[in-house]
């Protein structure tokens, strides 16, 4: 008899879910639409495609060195450079139209050339930056170091102005604040450089390239298999799938409160059905809805966006079920703690959104500050999203699914225990 009742509860809940067009759209269409959008935005169209950092440069020096710096920055694949005036630079950065503004002040080239050998009286480069783009500032700082070093050294080893600066330094060496031995060594080095420059003839083609990066980089994206490119859709669909099964569970919890409000719970309680069967029926139907949302969402991503389970299929299924169970117990918790449907919905929506955001469903958690990354391990969605990432594009094995599965089941058990403890059986 209990089995008949259990199956009837599951069937009824599924009938009700599919009869509510709004709920169906929310559960199936929304995650696919939003995940596709996020995936398109965050997935590079080719492995070489990079998001260029927008920067503006003010060249007040207009020297050979500054022109070479500007040329180097302009051809850098990581930067999108625009030359502007000093007034424009501050305004552009303030408006957020550029992440960084670089101001090369008058006399920079000469001062940098002198400092190149002497190591004193270094000139300043002004960097204006948008405080919301700290990561870009660090990157521009690194690229700028490279281009300044290349340009200054190139000019010093073969440029006309560099030659004049070497002569000038040699003539002023006796008055320099350094020991006699150091002066002698510097004189010998500068004399050698002068001879070297004279030997190259000063022509642009014969001119040495200056100090360059003493290495090149061979980059390899480490994904599931050597030649499998990263597919950002996998993360986007994991995040949105998790988000929308939580919302489906939230709606389910609110529906249970509506059932109570409409007197339906009195009918359940008057029937010869145990509390265990009533709860199990609700858990089973909510879990089934959650699992269907994940199947539809990932199914679409596999068909249309070529997302693949590169890791363990069994691990993927286990994480899906654990995640659906966690969401179902969360819905039941809402039904237990809520007093009224509207009150429960108002409290549960921000809680759910917080859980989703902190779990990395919208943006990957590595973007978070380090302290937040440590804190979010207490959020179940973090384990779900990381688990799906591990089984899809990272291509990890079943062993790597175990921890997310156990943690998700632990959260499900905790939510369920709290829901059962707080369930108002006699408030009918």
């Amino acid at each position: 008899m209990e089995l008949i009742a259990l199956l009837a509860i599951i069937k009824k809940d599924l009938q009700l879910f599919f009869s509510d067009r709004r709920a169906v759209v929310m559960a199936f269409v929304m995650p696919i639409t939003i995940a596709s959008f996020f995936g398109l935005v965050f997935t590079p169209r080719s492995p070489d495609e990079v998001a260029k950092i927008s920067a503006v440069v003010v060249d007040e020096d207009n020297s050979a060195v500054s022109r070479q710096i500007l040329s180097g920055l302009t051809t850098d694949k990581n930067l999108s450079i625009r030359a502007v005036t000093a007034e424009q630079a501050r305004d552009v950065v303030r408006r957020g139209d550029a992440a960084v503004g670089i101001i090369i002040q008058r006399g920079f080239g000469d001062a940098a050339g002198r400092a190149f050998f002497r190591g004193t009286d270094k000139p300043e480069l002004d960097l204006l930056y948008d405080p919301s783009h700290n990561a870009e500032l660090a990157m521009v700082r690194g690229l700028l170091t490279q281009h300044v070093m290349e340009s200054v050294s190139r000019e010093m080893f073969g440029g006309q102005r560099g030659q004049q600066l070497i002569d000038e330094t040699l003539s002023q060496l006796d008055a320099a604040q350094m020991s006699g031995d150091q002066k002698q060594l510097l004189r010998e080095m500068l004399t050698s450089v002068r001879k070297f420059n004279a030997g190259t003839g000063g022509s642009a083609t014969a001119r040495p390239p200056g100090v360059t990066m003493p290495y090149s980089v061979r980059e390899e994206a480490v994904t599931a298999r050597g030649k499998t490119p990263y597919n950002g859709m996998a993360h986007a669909f994991a995040g949105m799938g998790v988000q929308f099964i939580l919302f489906a569970a939230l709606n389910f919890g609110v529906e249970k409160l509506l059932e109570r409000q409409r007197g339906l719970f009195r009918r359940f309680r008057s029937a010869p059905v145990s509390r265990l069967t009533l709860l199990a029926g609700q858990m089973a139907s909510s879990t089934a809805i959650g699992a269907m949302v994940l199947v539809a969402s990932f199914g679409f991503s596999m068909l249309i966006w070529r997302v693949r389970i590169e890791g363990s299929v069994a691990g993927f299924v286990a994480i899906s079920l654990a995640c659906a169970l966690m969401a179902a117990s969360y819905g039941l918790l809402i039904a237990s703690l809520g007093k009224t449907p509207n009150g429960a919905r108002a409290a549960a929506i921000p809680a759910t959104l917080l859980m989703v955001m902190l779990g990395g469903a919208w943006v990957p958690t590595f973007i978070f500050p380090a302290w937040l990354q440590r804190v979010t391990v207490v959020i179940p969605t973090r384990w779900a999203v990381d688990g799906f990432d591990a089984m899809t594009w990272r291509g990890l094995g079943f062993g790597d699914a175990l921890m997310p599965v156990l943690v998700l089941l632990g959260f499900a058990a905790a939510f369920l225990a709290l829901a059962v403890a707080r369930f108002r059986w006699e408030d009918v």
Binding site: I4, K12, S270, V428
Partner: protein, 249 residues
């Protein structure tokens, strides 16, 4: 058939039901009357097994329920005051679900659904969604859901609230037919004329206590002053005499 003895239930400091006892016999309709907050719904909830009393017991055919899943619960049907139906489902799907909660399945369930729908006059609308029904039709379906598993005892908590005279009359006809079939009915209402028409006995409850339990004729004798010659004793006058005329909220 059903006997409730010395029921007591308190919610914190509020004693909702205090030493309530009543009996229901086969083929009998008992009206349960009381002002707002008198303890009627709590009494019905205890008898239906929704609430565990602090004291007292409910015997069905001489036996007490032993738990939520006790098959003895099948002997009792509840028609709640609310329209406890799923508006998005059809009448048939509603009944199929409620029947399954009582362990009905297959041919037995189909037969019970057909019979219940026929009794309440909704057989032709069986496949329509409940949200397309009028208030009276929903009330009749609410009754059908309580009858589905063929209980010996039917508990009706204000089953005619908000229905038109035609539907109310149809419900009365249904209830009288059930009495003829030997069912025992406990009928809670605020409408005195309904109890006058239907009830064999009347239990009046106030402040959680039974203050009268008698036939309509017997209740008439409870009036402090004899009625004037030729003046008809109404249940309402008895009720107001026993419970007072002050407003209850």
């Amino acid at each position: 058939m059903l006997e409730a003895t010395h029921l007591r239930k308190a919610f914190g400091a509020l004693v909702a039901v205090d030493d309530v006892s009543l009996r229901l016999e086969a083929g009998q309709i008992v009206g349960l009357l009381g002002p707002n907050g008198a303890g009627k719904t709590t009494t019905v909830s205890i008898i239906a097994g929704l609430i565990t009393p602090d004291r007292g017991e409910v015997l069905i055919n001489g036996r007490a329920r032993t738990g939520d899943a006790d098959p003895l619960k099948r002997k009792v049907g509840l028609v709640p005051q609310d329209l406890a139906l799923y508006e998005e489902l059809s009448a048939r799907d509603n009944l199929r679900f409620f029947g399954a909660l009582y362990g009905l399945a297959g041919v037995e369930l189909n037969g019970a659904m057909t019979s219940a729908l026929h009794i309440v006059g909704l057989a032709e609308r069986a496949n329509d969604r409940v949200k397309t029904f009028s208030g009276g039709m929903k009330r009749r379906l609410n009754l059908a859901a309580g009858l589905l598993h063929d209980p010996d005892v039917l508990l009706l908590d204000e089953p005619t609230v908000g229905v038109d005279p035609q539907s109310r009359n149809a419900i009365f006809d249904n209830l009288e037919e059930l009495r003829r079939q030997g069912k025992a009915l406990l009928y809670t209402t605020h409408y005195m004329e309904e109890v006058e028409r239907l009830a064999d006995r009347v239990v009046i409850i106030d402040n959680g206590k039974v203050i009268a339990n008698d036939t309509l004729a017997g209740l008439g004798r409870l009036l402090p002053a004899p009625a004037a010659p030729g003046e008809r004793v109404t249940l309402e006058s008895v009720f107001l005499t026993l419970t007072g005329r002050s407003l209850r909220d």
